[in-house]
């Protein structure tokens, strides 16, 4: 498939340091619009660090330093004039453990829109709640209990609520760090289905420890190893005839 559109994110010679220690080294890759990009690799190879670079979540950790560039629609996200709240609205994140706020389902979903001033009127908020929950495949389950405590939901539902909460602010890119690792197999498959649906409108980058999951959900896959991007290939190729011996060895369980 020829790339009709330019990539939404371009990463150029990215280095990342925790204090003196180099966690990412010379990362170069393009993230394509409305595609699912999976990041795999052994524990500690830098997947989460890389993901957090994409919306500057690492900035909250003291002593960290970035070199190189990350361009979102051509804009350098590390440029001094960048508004962090706006960046994180455009590039949303879903975490490993579902982390709904101890509030009602409704309040969870409207938290972002209220905070960034996207909507204030009840009718607008209602509209956002329905749209977001529908997109997160949760509307039919919760539409009659919107005023119930979000934390009373099942774990898989909580994770979908967190996705809805993020969708409520209309992001362009969704980052997911092992979004299924706390979920049972059924809830995992539901999230995977959801990813396939969200792909129609959003760009998704997912970190996963489960190689089969990467194979199932993604269009492109990157393998990280000791802070370096070893291979970045179309997923079908990655899992049938990878280019690098290291990828081959990792995928076939010979190391890692």
């Amino acid at each position: 498939m020829p790339d009709a559109e330019p990539p939404i994110i371009q990463v150029r010679d990215l280095d990342f340091f925790y204090g003196p220690s180099l966690a990412l080294s010379k990362i170069n890759l393009d993230i394509r619009r409305r595609q699912v990009t999976a990041l795999i690799g052994p524990s500690g190879c830098g997947k989460s660090t890389f993901l957090r670079c994409l919306n500057r979540m690492n900035d909250t950790i003291p002593g960290t330093r970035v070199a190189g560039q990350i361009l979102l629609e051509g804009m350098d996200i590390y440029a001094p004039e960048v508004d962090l709240a706006h960046l994180r609205q455009r590039v949303g994140m879903v975490f490993q453990k579902p982390n709904p706020f101890p509030q009602t389902i409704f309040d969870n979903v409207v938290f972002g829109p209220r905070a960034v001033g996207l909507a204030r009127q009840r009718a607008d908020l209602d509209e956002i709640v329905e749209r977001s929950l529908t997109q997160a495949a949760l509307w039919d389950v919760v539409k009659d209990h919107l005023d119930e405590d979000a934390q009373s939901l099942a774990l898989g539902e909580q994770q979908r609520l967190c996705i809805a909460r993020m969708l409520a602010v209309k992001p362009e890119v969704i980052l997911m760090d092992e979004p299924c690792s706390a979920l049972d197999p059924i809830a995992t498959l539901e999230i995977e289905e959801l990813i396939a649906e969200l792909k129609a409108q959003y760009t998704i980058v997912i970190v996963t420890h489960n190689m089969q999951q990467a194979a199932r959900v993604s269009d492109e896959t990157g393998l990280f190893w000791l802070g370096e991007l070893v291979e970045f290939s179309p997923t079908q190729r990655m899992f049938t005839r990878p280019e690098q011996q290291l990828t081959e060895d990792y995928i076939t369980g010979r190391m890692g």
């Binding site: 190689m211 089969q212 194979a215 899992f239 049938t240 005839r241 990878p242 990828t247 081959e248 995928i251 076939t252 369980g253 010979r254 190391m255 890692g256």
Partner: protein, 221 residues
């Protein structure tokens, strides 16, 4: 595949390879016996080859089934997946080689005691060449040697040459001796079966190349 499944996969794939070798030996036996039956006009041996074909088929399905189970339970990827897929193709080729051997044996039964022809001289050579290709290509699979596989596929040209020379002579013979048409036709079928056996070794060689490199190409085109 997670590292923890690696050893189990290796063990199960080794078992499959052992069975594949066994299948190739059964097929080699069938080719060798079919040729003996032809050259010695020995219908008992020919019948044994035909009877053996059912076992070849059964072992092929057994190996295919084991491959399917391996895919379902271990979810192999990359070279592991290509290896399992290669085995599934290779056992089909082996089974069909068995059919060709049984085909030769059936012709021997049809020919009964009709006298053999002098053109038969080239048949033992064709039989030997195709058996050697089969033995080597199975070794190239076990040794995971795509270069050797390519070399083996290259030998197919010699067999093709022998085949065309044989057909030529049989045709000329038929023109000269119309009463030998039936015998000549039978022998053409035999030659055809031998030529196909060698072709199938070439197909196996292609699978070895695919397994090792991921390249899906026809060799000898």
């Amino acid at each position: 595949m997670p590292q923890s499944l690696r050893a189990a996969f290796d063990r199960e794939f080794d078992d499959i390879c052992d069975k594949l070798v066994h299948l190739s030996q059964m097929v080699d036996w069938a080719i060798q016996r079919a040729m003996t039956a032809l050259l010695e006009q020995d219908s008992l041996t020919a019948e044994a080859v035909v009877a053996n074909d059912g076992d070849v088929n059964r072992l092929r399905f057994e190996i295919e089934e084991a491959c399917i189970v391996l895919i379902a339970t271990r979810q192999p990827a990359a070279s592991d997946l290509r290896s399992v897929v290669a085995v599934m193709h290779i056992v089909v080729e082996l089974e069909r080689m068995g059919d060709h051997a049984a085909g030769i044996a059936r012709i021997v039964l049809l020919m009964e005691d009709e006298p053999l022809l002098k053109t038969l001289k080239k048949f033992p050579k064709m039989g030997e060449l195709s058996r050697q290709m089969l033995a080597d290509v199975v070794q190239s699979f076990l040794k995971r040697d795509p270069e050797w596989a390519r070399e083996i596929a290259g030998r197919d040209a010699r067999l093709d040459k022998l085949y065309h020379a044989t057909i030529d002579r049989l045709l000329k013979f038929m023109v000269k001796k119309p009463d030998a048409v039936q015998r000549c036709t039978y022998l053409m079928w035999v030659a055809h079966n031998l030529e196909r056996i060698a072709d199938r070794s070439t197909n196996i060689a292609e699978q070895v190349v695919y397994m090792m490199t991921g390249d899906m190409n026809e060799l000898n085109v």
